[in-house]
């Protein structure tokens, strides 16, 4: 299972890549593996705003629904609309083509490092 060093993480299994004031967000390799085949992604509209910890959408596998939580506060600047027709990108490439949305964020504190996130996963198992 892959936990790239250059990303930051949440306890609810989202990953975050911060570039300037834009945070790109997805779910981790561990999360997609736990979910199984992703068949549907429920996304907000661009322009919506969220506080850190808010539910902003959901990822559904054949069997289960999993809420998505905003890792940081901000405004949605872009969603990955390719997921509407190809939600399986989340399974195939969770840190790449399976990215979910981009938030414009002023404060990106409070996230976990890769090594801290690995401990979260270990504690679950």
């Amino acid at each position: 299972m892959s936990v790239p060093e250059n990303l930051q993480y949440t306890r609810s299994h989202e990953w975050v890549r911060v570039e300037d004031d834009v945070a790109t967000i997805g779910i981790t390799d561990h999360a997609q593996e736990e979910l199984g085949d992703v068949v549907f992604v429920e996304l907000p509209e661009a322009g919506a705003t969220f506080e850190a910890g808010d539910s902003f959408g959901a990822v559904e596998s054949v069997k289960a629904v999993s809420d998505l939580y905003a890792p940081v506060s901000g405004e949605v600047v872009e969603i990955n609309s390719a997921l509407e027709d190809a939600p399986e990108k989340i399974n195939d490439d969770p840190y790449g083509e399976g990215w979910i949305l981009k938030l414009r964020a002023s404060d990106t504190g409070g996230l976990l490092s890769a090594s801290d996130y690995e401990k979260v996963i270990e504690a679950e198992e």
Partner: protein, 362 residues
């Protein structure tokens, strides 16, 4: 304490994800639900359903006891024939849905794992005055389901029984791979296939043989998507103590005028005469989203029912579901998916029907 089937080690070796199901540690998936589902639709899949319960009725009044307990007229079953039936309360609500096997000297009833203790208690409470012995033989059997168009070919290589002679819902007691087995042409997937009862100690070796012969191991996740596409009920979803078999859309399992009467027959006769209070419908979601068990059905204003099962159909690639709705509900309604109303349209059941020219011959 979670229980394990005799195939537990095989599941672990195959990399299954194990979950608690009705008190049993069971595989929910191996390679992935979509791949397993497709294996059953196009080739062959192998399920461990050893958690199902087996109740055996023996004695001079065995038939009378089963007649009292189930909705089907089992006097019409021949030796070597199985029948799908419901078990009802006096209210007409459903205790369980079961398969009744008529054997030469007794009756075997296969019950849902989650209902095993409840069913056995219900059976024993309701056979008073009859000369019958009701035994819980659930722990004496492992049950493997081999399903899919290639199932008959794979199984034929392991048995001397001519499988082409076993019609749908018929069974024989013989041998598979050199061990005693009951071979039943039944299943819960909408495909041709067999359910094979063997002794627990013989299960692992047969499992490995069937996998080596090309069957893909399939977990409970795909078992649910397969049965839902085939429009089959799941107890706890479509059927429960508050839902009658007529409401749940399985009148073919109910012989409403049978004699002697079954428990609940009076209530079902009244319901049949006065009209159903709710009805089971199949639907497709027309907007975006996937309906799930427990979601509300509305007519746009009022609540008119509930989704009992829903999934993204791997075969059809559409969001499908079953719902119990008020009888007057027409063919267009709304499903509230996570607070979002989405249009749905009723479609005929089953969602998926196999091409009988393709499978079905051994």
């Amino acid at each position: 304490m979670t229980r394990q089937t005799p195939l537990h080690e095989e599941h672990k070796k195959a990399g299954a994800r194990l979950v608690d199901f009705a008190g049993w540690e069971m595989p929910v998936q191996y390679a992935g639900i979509k791949a397993e589902h497709e294996a059953v639709r196009t080739r062959a899949g192998l399920f461990d359903v050893s958690h199902m319960g087996e109740a055996v009725f023996r004695g001079p009044d065995a038939e009378a006891a089963v007649q009292r307990l189930v909705t089907r007229d089992v006097s019409r079953l021949e030796t070597g024939q199985a029948g799908y039936a419901a078990v009802c309360y006096e209210s007409g609500g459903t205790v369980d849905d079961v398969l009744v096997y008529r054997r030469a000297d007794d009756f075997l009833i296969v019950v849902n794992a989650a209902n095993r203790d409840k069913d056995l208690a219900h059976f024993r409470e309701n056979v008073s005055g009859l000369d019958v012995e009701v035994s819980d033989e659930s722990d004496d059997w492992a049950l493997l389901a081999l399903q899919g168009p290639e199932a008959a070919g794979i199984l034929q290589d392991l048995t001397g029984t001519d499988l082409s002679g076993i019609r749908y819902y018929r069974f024989v007691e013989d041998e598979v791979d050199g061990v005693p087995a009951t071979i039943s042409r039944t299943g819960y997937t909408g495909e041709d296939g067999f359910e094979v009862f063997v002794r627990p100690d013989d299960a692992a070796s047969l499992w490995r043989k069937l996998i080596e012969s090309g069957a893909a191991p399939v977990g409970l996740g795909a078992r649910d998507t397969l049965r839902l596409e085939a429009g089959m009920c799941l107890y706890g979803n479509e059927l429960d103590a508050e839902t009658t078999p007529l409401e749940a859309g399985i009148p073919f399992a109910v012989h409403l005028y049978k004699q002697p009467q079954f428990i609940g027959q009076g209530a079902l006769l009244i319901e049949d005469a006065e009209g159903l209070k709710k009805k089971l419908v199949g639907f497709e979601i027309e907007g975006r989203g996937i309906a799930r068990h427990g979601h509300t059905v509305t007519d746009g204003a009022e609540i008119v029912g509930q989704v009992t099962s829903g999934t993204l159909s791997p075969t059809l690639d559409r969001a499908i579901g079953l719902a119990l709705v008020a009888p007057e509900v027409e063919d267009r309604f709304t499903v509230v998916i996570r607070d979002r109303p989405v249009p749905a349209i009723e479609v005929p059941l089953p969602f998926y029907k196999r091409d009988r020219k393709r499978g079905g011959s051994a």
